[in-house]
Subunit: 511 residues, 2 copies
Amino acid sequence: MKINICQINTKAANINGNKEKINSILQSSGEDTLNIFGELSLTGSPLYNRNIYTDIYQQTSMAGDELCKSGKSFIVGTIAKSEDLLYNSLVFVDKGEVKALATKRNLGRFDRNYSIGNGIEVLKYEGKKIAFGFYEDVLNFAKRGIEVDTLILVHNNLFDKDYDNDIERELGNYARRLKANIVFVSRIGVEGNFVFQGGSFVLNRNGDIILRVSEFSEAVCDIDLSVLNKNIKPIQQCYEERIFNACVLGIRDYWAKSGIKKAVIGLSGGIDSAVVVVLAATALGKENVTGILMPSEFSSEHSINDAKQSADNLGIEHYVVPIQGIFSASKEALKELLSIEAKDTTEENLQARARCMIVMAFGNRLGAAMLNTSNKSESAVGYGTLYGDDSGALGPIGDLYKEDVYKLARWINRDKEIIPNNSITKAPSAELHPNQKDSDTLPEYDVLDKVLKEHIENHLSYKEIVDKGYDESIVKRTLHLYNINEWKRRQEAPALRLSKTCFATDIKINF
Amino acid sequence: MKINICQINTKAANINGNKEKINSILQSSGEDTLNIFGELSLTGSPLYNRNIYTDIYQQTSMAGDELCKSGKSFIVGTIAKSEDLLYNSLVFVDKGEVKALATKRNLGRFDRNYSIGNGIEVLKYEGKKIAFGFYEDVLNFAKRGIEVDTLILVHNNLFDKDYDNDIERELGNYARRLKANIVFVSRIGVEGNFVFQGGSFVLNRNGDIILRVSEFSEAVCDIDLSVLNKNIKPIQQCYEERIFNACVLGIRDYWAKSGIKKAVIGLSGGIDSAVVVVLAATALGKENVTGILMPSEFSSEHSINDAKQSADNLGIEHYVVPIQGIFSASKEALKELLSIEAKDTTEENLQARARCMIVMAFGNRLGAAMLNTSNKSESAVGYGTLYGDDSGALGPIGDLYKEDVYKLARWINRDKEIIPNNSITKAPSAELHPNQKDSDTLPEYDVLDKVLKEHIENHLSYKEIVDKGYDESIVKRTLHLYNINEWKRRQEAPALRLSKTCFATDIKINF
């Protein structure tokens, strides 16, 4: 049996665009090939509430009919309607004729408004018994004890930087238990801040991987299940490389799907903006990224030099716009208020907000979107200014702890100095008052990150973290800052989701 | 049977505080009274992910044990654990002894990490057969056909401005069908931007309402089910009054639970800020609200007067901080950029962001949180500046269409002029360039609101709305603006949730 794994990038609600992409693959495929497209490949996903709108359903139906006219064989993901109920469905088309429909049973986070379906379906195709449906329904299918030659599973597989081939291992067990080949097809691409990673694969009856499609890129892979049968090794991508690829895809696809070409970014000379600008230049091309240096009276000479170096190394356009004038004018306008004595961050926040004004003005006039440069450690403890440096259309490293940002920076520099070494080695500073360092108000990042991970990833409470040997006052202060800053996290730039604990999409606490 | 309906305001994760509140009610209740507290009344709700943390569970268990020491009879909502699974539970305590546990079966949006429970439980109490459990599980219970004297249901009932006593009607039907008294207990209060409305009630076997507790306020109501049996009329609150009460509770409780006393708000002289400042002064007291007038060269004389009048009518403190200096300094800093000719909103956004800088500076120095003044119509079409007037800790009218804001304003002014009449009658304007009116770029609000409602509330697509007789170009433009502004809605101030279609909590579309 010849199959064609179609790991494509669709766009949510862009049904005509998705149909064209699918159709062009069908046109070039052989008569005896089964083309497998992923979950909701015709409609795109997530549709949120859009699946209940009649125009979406009508367009989808018409597009499905058109695809059948190709006369080819394929599985495509779409919306099905029955007695006014909607189902997340896969249609099996054999030489232009609809043969079967699998409806999703175990609904997930993106399956709003869908009713519970029947799960995996079985049919005869090219003389073989085939099962097809959604990855989420595999357990229910296995329990039914039906013998099939091949099991085809689709899944809109979300990226997770800490993912460790667990789906491969799990389906390897099912392949052996069911004595069936398993074909797993995932989409790639980005919707909002969700990254779908691709990485489709094929397993034989022994659970050996016989094909593995790359992550983060579109791919159409022919395979003859009756011939190919050799075991292949996992693709060895290191931790940093996978994160880098996910971030680059994240920026590229977010910008592309928003119809925006250009990005603007404030360059401080620090490691965070230095990493994000590399990601942006890689994703969008150096000609589409503009860096803005916004020195103040508190900026050190080395910061300005590092920021310039960062832009020069990439060959991107950059502007220098000092904030002194706006800062002075705002202090003048607010002199009555500022005459009230207080130890607070009012003046620091004025500077951060002046910078946001400037970067957003560049965004407006150049038709560019602003990149946010916050990391997850800062976001967790509220170390940033809302409507200031917390701003931006997307935060590419917003789901990376500071330690991961360092790792990524060193990996980017593995062959040559792209990020100024000084940005990596110097002590982090917001430079909002003289000689400021992050560690004046925060624990050192290596400790802070560990405490945050114990609480956020491992769900340990205060006492359990302290019992592991961490300093009581640091744990107390860290958890306190985490708890009181939820209101900021609700409004900061959406972080690109790189893990199961992304603040923008997964972790909410009370506020 | 004597029962005590305890419609209280709890705080999420503040277990000791909630326990104290519950305990003080138990201490003053009679020996023969069953005190009914609501869903998760001991832990507070929503807990999001916090229910899996050991400290929360341990505190909850200890607090439950303490409550039992009162020797009183009560039903309280808490977390139960069994074989490492968590359940959203109600504990029935008879004179200090745990008699039964009901675990929630039909889980909802706030029930993350809970396992599916057994639903409504039945027991003997004071010689009567009693059933108790969660409102969501009433259908499963009714199907079992068990006869009971009284059915006690708890529910964390979310406010909906368009709610029309549908739960009362539904449970009235169940009361007749089951021939049982029904006691319905809801919490009140606000968590983040969720408003729980209260409005607990009691139905007799005929489905007649025999007690109705007020909305939006804490109340403890004794009732003897064997005596009281008269039918009472619904509380007649008009549409505007319910919205007003919900908004006032929203601000008051959000501020109280955040530990903040004061609010700052930019006063433009327009209707939106004029309404929000009335709500804030009512909620927090006039001494805790500071208005900031920020005129520019484009501000009309009447705007400044209306804004002043608005503050004076309420007797709140206000400051006048012209933005001219900051605006000029920012244009000076950006003169290279602004020399690029373009018809865009760069200069308008600079003004809105300068105002945000100022209000947030007042917030910082005065220890106050900023009120957002955007309405739902603006938010839907992106008519506002991100990191400018879209800012604020909470948007009290962010879930109200402009037409509803007008209704609310007229209701506030029903007896005397609190909101300057001129703010209500003049044409809306952002005053960001000379003689600007909202209707220069947007359809008139009465049309805009209708089109938005057809799309957002009634789920009609473009063609269906046009078929209803609306102007094609207006519908097209409105839906286009709605679709391209999702990225802004994701970052704007969270709107207080007043309906099922709140952007902050319920409606997401692709972006």
